[in-house]
Amino acid sequence: MADHAGLRLHVPEPEVRPGGTPDFSNVVIPKAGSVRRPEVDAEPESIRDLAYSIIRVLNREGEAVGPWAGLLGDEELREGLRHMMTLRAFDARMQMAQRQGKTSFYMQHMGEEAVSSAFRKALLPGDMNFPTYRQAGLLIAGGYPLVEMMNQIYSNEADPLKGRQLPIMYASREHGFFSISGNLATQFVQAVGWAMASAIKGDSRIAAGWVGDGSTAESDFHAALVFASTYRAPVVLNIVNNQWAISTFQGIARGGSGTFAARGLGFGLPSLRVDGNDYLAVHAVARWAVERARRNLGPTLVEYVTYRVGAHSTSDDPSAYRPKEESAAWPLGDPVIRLKKHLIVRGAWSEERHKQAEAEILDTVISAQKEAERHGTLHAGGKPSARDMFEGVYAEMPPHLRRQRQQAGI
């Protein structure tokens, strides 16, 4: 052994830390429109390269270019813009509400609005998402009332989840939105199970699983890929790579693989990477993957390349672990600004209409907030009852819980 130098542990580190100058020159970004669009029944092995590239539609000039462009009309794009703007306004208000003590906790989407908003529009009624805490765009684009979201966030008397869940851990079966778990990645394999069930029943509904870049390291991610691959489940498996997992940069979860989409290759899954800040690209790739699933061609893995602009949650302060200016340096830009620009370039939008829309949306959000607050906030006004705490543990309350409820005097 004398001929070998001693071993050393390799611990990946991000390019820069606070104090340094943000540098994304290592992020290879293909030109918009340059990545091919294979047929949905293409052999996974024949499209390996898509796991190492980035599918993009909107170019720097705001034009939609290339084979993935052309799916959405003016009205749909304006609607998409409205969804993203609504999500952003909603986030801003709820962040503030948290700081005002109206709730205990909040998690925002800043920079990632396109991913969930555009994906949602590729689904049909009856399809089911198994989301993480950073896909509220699925609800907003799916028509779930803002006031219901706020009632949940406030844990107030109208909270559809009766105060049982942490703020933003929504659930709405009707809107194809599975109950969010605080435990990362657990829902990824459940999405596969839901999709398998649909296949078992000869149904046509499909499922979508969601996971963050950091959470791909969890066991459930593996189980999901194994089962999806074996049973060819009709599911779209989405990885939202927003570069960070709280304070941990994506290199710690990714290791030597280059991309997260690459994980799918070892399972024979078509694996695509897409510009997560490009509403049109997200939507186009989602449509492709959803069609594969719906046509019984099996699962698809999609990595959305984006950036978490805000703090991880209201309990986090990113200035402790990354340069403050990093988000501004992110080379894929801002999804709202990019879609806005595209609409203007298309002649379907203007600065004025944008300003007006912004004001209208803010109004809508504020009036929803007012309505929600009439039902109470976490520490004030109407609240779920202590009885609600004992209900719903089982379909029928067993004797020991009845005894305990009695003991609690409620």
Binding site: R173, G182, T186, V189, G193, I200, D220, V393, A395, P399
Partner: protein
């Protein structure tokens, strides 16, 4: 009525339910073509097709995780974990997900799944084919935990479990699969064909969850047991001549506290028997409940006879296993106290 082994009874329960309800699906490791390493699912794939009974990859997490997703869709999965000792990779899905789905979604999503698994020792299975992890489930609100001790109950309770709207952990004492075992390993194996609880009604019938059964009426002391230990306790009663009232708990959660309290108030003495390790075993909960509810009726301390607080050893199996002698001694001591 036909006599069945516990394996046949369990298989019959799944067969009946798959026949009645298209939404019942059965899967797990080696469960499909082969019919399970204990043959509990034999023939089901052939009868109901590969999409209702199938083999899975070796991932207990995946088995339970996909079952939860299927249940959220509307199916009623009844899955097998090959040995209870291998349930831990699925523990997170069970505890964090299955158990809480109804609660956290306020009933929008529910989780009517059954997780079957063989438990207990007595087959020289060593540390990883012998465990009795029931207490790890009874601590988790949202789960129901069931341990049948005979073919009759196994079928009736498995049907109840499959029909139940909530997740049920269904623990099958593997040493009872082929016959009632009273701990006398030195004696010839007996068969369910000779036991009255080997009589299993045909077709659909249920034994309700949450109800204990009195296996032996008695007045001297109350024995709380489940699974294999019911038979061990019966042997201990016969051998000591102590007139024990033996309660087969059957459902650990929700517990039939009424039956327990009624008996202990009558006898004034209580011995709890289980095969799992002592500390924080389900016996601790039973003991605590008995003294909370029968304090003024107790004439002796509630005793526990259990597996020791060591991993389940291979060679020393019969030193570890709480056999009739050890249980009998506790009877005698409790009567003398």
């Amino acid at each position: 009525m036909p006599r069945k082994t516990m394996i046949e009874a369990i298989r019959d329960a799944m067969d009946v339910m798959m026949g009645r309800d298209d939404d019942v699906v059965v899967f797990g490791e080696d469960v499909g073509y082969f019919g399970g390493v204990f043959r509990c699912t034999q023939g089901l794939q052939q009868k109901y097709g590969r999409s209702r009974c199938f083999d899975t990859p070796i991932s207990e997490l995946g088995i339970v995780g996909t079952a939860i997703g299927m249940a959220a869709y509307g199916l009623k999965p009844c899955v097998e974990v090959q040995f209870a000792d291998y349930v831990y990779p699925a523990y997170d899905q069970i505890v964090s997900e299955a158990a809480r789905l109804r609660y956290r979604s306020n009933g929008q999503f529910t989780c009517p799944i059954v997780i079957r698994m063989p438990t207990g020792g007595g087959i020289f299975g060593g540390q990883t084919h012998s465990q009795s992890p029931e207490a790890l489930f009874t601590h988790v609100s949202g789960l129901k935990t069931v341990v049948p001790s005979n073919p009759h109950d196994a079928k009736g309770m498995l049907i109840s479990a499959i029909e139940d709207p909530d997740p049920v952990i269904f623990l099958e004492p593997k040493r009872l699969y082929n016959g009632p075992f009273d701990g006398h390993h030195e004696q010839p194996v007996t068969s369910w064909a000779k036991h009255e609880l080997g009589e299993v009604p045909d077709g659909h019938f249920t034994v309700p969850l949450g109800k204990a059964a009195i296996r032996r009426k008695g007045s001297a002391l109350t024995v709380l047991a489940y699974g294999t230990m019911v038979h061990v306790a019966e042997a201990a009663a016969a051998e000591t001549g102590i007139d024990a009232e033996i309660i087969d708990i059957r459902t650990l959660l929700p517990l039939d506290l009424e039956a327990i309290v009624h008996s202990v108030r009558k006898t004034g003495r209580c011995v709890i028997v289980h095969e799992a390790t002592l500390t924080s075993g389900f016996g601790a909960e039973l003991s605590a409940l008995v003294q909370e509810n029968c304090f003024y009726h107790l004439e002796a301390a509630v005793a526990r006879v259990t597996g020791w607080d060591t991993p389940y050893p291979h060679a020393q199996e019969w030193d570890y296993f709480p056999g009739p002698q050890r249980v009998g001694r506790a009877f005698v001591e409790t009567m003398a106290a």
